[in-house]
């Protein structure tokens, strides 16, 4: 049987890749995709902990459902913001939308 640590390391790899993507990318939609990667890593962690450690076995799955719900709301809202940004500035790169930068 696959031990718990394998799932934890896999989810750590996914999360670190997401952090790299969020920090390195310029395009707002690509940053959003990296955020999705991180959210998925967190859900995987929740479910793995629930299956191996939790006597009830279901709390982590319910947390993952809530993560998916909030992620769906976040994607919808963030893409609306990106589309609005593109319409106003003709760019979706976050380093060019720097009006508030001192």
């Amino acid at each position: 049987m696959v031990p718990l640590e394998n799932y934890l390391v896999l989810s750590a790899i996914l999360f670190s890749l997401g952090v790299y993507g969020v920090l390195a990318r310029r395009n707002a939609v690509l940053i959003l995709m990296s955020v999705e990667l991180m959210l998925n890593a967190v859900s995987l962690n929740f479910v793995a902990f629930a299956a191996y450690l939790d006597p009830d076995k279901i709390t982590g799955a319910i947390f993952a459902i809530f993560v998916i719900t909030v992620a769906a709301a976040e994607v919808g809202l963030a893409l609306a913001i990106v589309i609005r940004l593109f319409r106003n500035r003709a760019t979706s790169n976050v380093d060019e939308a720097a009006t508030m930068k001192w």
């Binding site: 049987m1 799932y7 670190s16 920090l23 995709m33 479910v47 279901i58 992620a71 919808g76 589309i83």
Partner: protein
């Protein structure tokens, strides 16, 4: 034994396509790698015996979210051939931060003795206990989550609406 071999195949595939998500040269390739990565995580839920969650993952992430992302990519691309750089000049520092975080997380995950770790999985987590937990113990968060979804979608419509026609 066969499960373990399958697990390693899926795990390496997930890592490979996730590397593809953050290193792909074009945004569309990145999005397609993201679809594969999300479906791979859904397969991991099947390994963890939570089949309902795997179904939700395939439907919502593999279907709805990626379609939204692809749509936004197509709406926000400047016309014609776009060959601008996808990474900023800070990319090496971002890589250093990612590697440092990976080292810390893996060290913690491996070195910690998890209390109650039995190294075996339940036979199957069916949808009945999940629905009982969702509607009984977690009833209030469920209602709040529905309100959050409603508000977010109304806000998205208001933000993306064409104005001054």
């Amino acid at each position: 034994m066969a499960t373990e071999v399958l697990w390693w195949i899926f795990a390496s595939a997930i890592v490979a396509v996730s590397v593809g998500v953050v290193t792909a040269r074009t945004v569309i390739h990145s999005a397609i790698f993201l679809i594969l990565s999300l479906c791979g995580v859904g397969a991991m839920y099947i390994f963890l015996t939570v089949e309902f969650l795997a179904l939700v993952q395939f439907l919502i992430y593999g279907g709805a979210v990626t379609v939204l992302i692809l749509l936004a990519l197509m709406l926000t691309r400047g016309g014609g051939t776009v060959t601008e750089k996808l990474n900023g000049p800070q990319a090496p520092f971002a890589a250093a931060a990612g590697v440092a975080l990976l080292l810390i997380l893996t060290t913690v995950a491996i070195d910690t003795a998890w209390p109650g770790d039995t190294d075996d999985l339940p036979d199957m987590i069916t949808v009945t206990p999940i629905s009982e937990g969702l509607f009984m113990d977690f009833g209030a968060p469920f209602v709040i989550a529905s309100v959050v979804l409603l508000v977010a979608l109304v806000g998205a419509i208001i933000l993306a609406r064409q104005e001054d026609d």
